[in-house]
């Protein structure tokens, strides 16, 4: 049987990776992508935690919460990207003003 611990730790690594991208990137599209990576890492940790314990079946309540989370994350991404495209068309840049000023 699969050991959920691997996947829980993998989720922790993925969340860390997402935070790295979220802090590093100035392009808002890359930030939104990083944000999605963070979210899916958290889902992976939650799902793995729901599969721990003597009962090997995955916890259906955790599964339902994660499915809800995936759908809401997609909606938020759609809204974020629509705002980003409108912002870039209005300002001419896909970066926030304070990030664009940091260029050497």
């Amino acid at each position: 049987m699969t050991d959920p611990t691997f996947y829980g730790l993998c989720g922790a690594v993925v969340v860390g990776t997402g935070i790295y991208g979220f802090v590093l990137h100035t392009h808002i599209l890359r930030r939104l992508l990083s944000f999605n990576v963070i979210g899916s890492g958290i889902f992976l940790m939650l799902g793995a935690a729901g599969s721990l314990g003597p009962d090997t079946a995955a916890d259906p309540v955790a599964q339902a919460l994660i499915i809800t989370g995936i759908v809401v994350a997609l909606s938020a991404t759609a809204l974020g990207l629509a705002l980003l495209v409108a912002y870039a068309r209005a300002s001419g840049s896909p970066r926030l003003p304070e990030d664009a000023n940091d260029d050497p």
């Binding site: 611990t5 922790a12 990776t17």
Partner: protein
């Protein structure tokens, strides 16, 4: 031997998930980042299969890889070329934040107390829920509040997406006009895939009461069918002002709310009588599937745009 092979497979899959995530974040090319994100989501879907969570695997591949990938590709095409990715000393604060939070989360996961789990509580009450798939029972009965609000979140997001349309473009068809080369791959697949996808979507909805599947997975597949039809040029999307379109989007949450209020009249808001639970859940899911499909497809296509509108 079998156990060893399975552990090896899990380790390799976890390594692939973590590596594709890192590449999607770290690669310089923005288009490459989007492609790698889709690959990452597919590997993650395999991980969910290994954890025995088939419903999540379906949702992750359909929503995470499919629709989110499509959204990111669309935004990438509409935005100016990539900006340089910071490198050198600028990387260190981000790397420290990432390493610290990753280690803290890993430590927290390893020191989790022995979980009690809700498997038994769900299994004990499954008989009164009206369905046999425990995940559908949680989504549509035990925790239907979450699902009701979630279906309304989809509507709110669609209103948000539409609200960034320019005044002169509003009232037209959503998204940009699609050009598919006559007889090309896109035009052909735009005619070949929809019937198959439609059947898979309806099957996922129907199977959801007893097997993995359900309204959200089915709605996502149907949204993908609609998107393939629009992108292949077989049909133009309907006008955003079309009344029937808005009725389809609102019908799911409205039926859900109506059933909830009927429950309130007999005691509990969103409470379902065990003998009526199955037909009520199927009715909610049937309408909700089409509302989800319409809202998701419209959110992914984006607001109506002027073809001359460029960055």
């Amino acid at each position: 031997m079998m156990a060893l092979a399975e552990t090896g497979f899990d380790l390799v899959l976890c390594a692939m998930i973590a590596t594709t995530a890192l590449l999607a974040i770290g690669v310089r090319d923005q288009f490459g980042a989007v492609v790698l994100f889709v690959v990452y989501s597919v590997f993650l879907g395999l991980g969910w299969l290994r954890l025995g969570a088939l419903d999540i695997a379906l949702a992750e591949v359909a929503l995470g890889a499919g629709l989110t990938g499509l959204l990111l590709f669309g935004a990438h095409a509409r935005l100016p070329a990539s900006v340089p990715v910071p490198s050198g000393r600028a990387v260190w604060p981000a790397a420290c934040a990432a390493g610290g939070s990753g280690l803290a989360l890993g430590w927290a996961f390893l020191t989790l107390p022995e979980p009690v789990g809700l498997q038994e509580a769900v299994a004990a009450n499954l008989g009164t829920s009206g369905v046999e798939n425990p995940v559908t029972a949680v989504l549509l009965n035990f925790r239907s509040w979450d699902t009701l609000i979630e279906s309304i979140v989809l509507l709110a997001a669609l209103i948000g997406v539409w609200s960034v349309a320019r005044d002169d473009a509003w009232g037209g068809q959503p998204g940009l006009r699609q050009h598919a080369r006559h007889g090309g791959v896109l035009a052909n697949f735009g005619r070949l895939l929809p019937p198959i996808g439609f059947m898979i979507g309806v099957y996922l909805f129907w199977a959801g009461s007893s097997k993995p599947g359900g309204a959200f997975q089915a709605g996502t597949v149907l949204a993908a069918v609609a998107l393939v039809v629009f992108m292949g040029g077989a049909m133009r999307p309907p006008l955003v002002t079309a009344r029937w379109l808005r009725l389809v989007c609102v019908a799911g949450p409205a039926v859900f709310l109506a059933v909830g209020l009927t429950g309130a009249a007999s005691g509990v808001f969103l409470g379902l009588r065990p003998d009526l639970a199955k037909p009520l859940i199927l009715a909610i899911e049937a309408v909700l599937t089409f509302s989800i499909a319409a809202s998701l497809a419209l959110s992914v296509i984006g607001p109506p745009e002027d073809p001359e509108d460029h960055v």
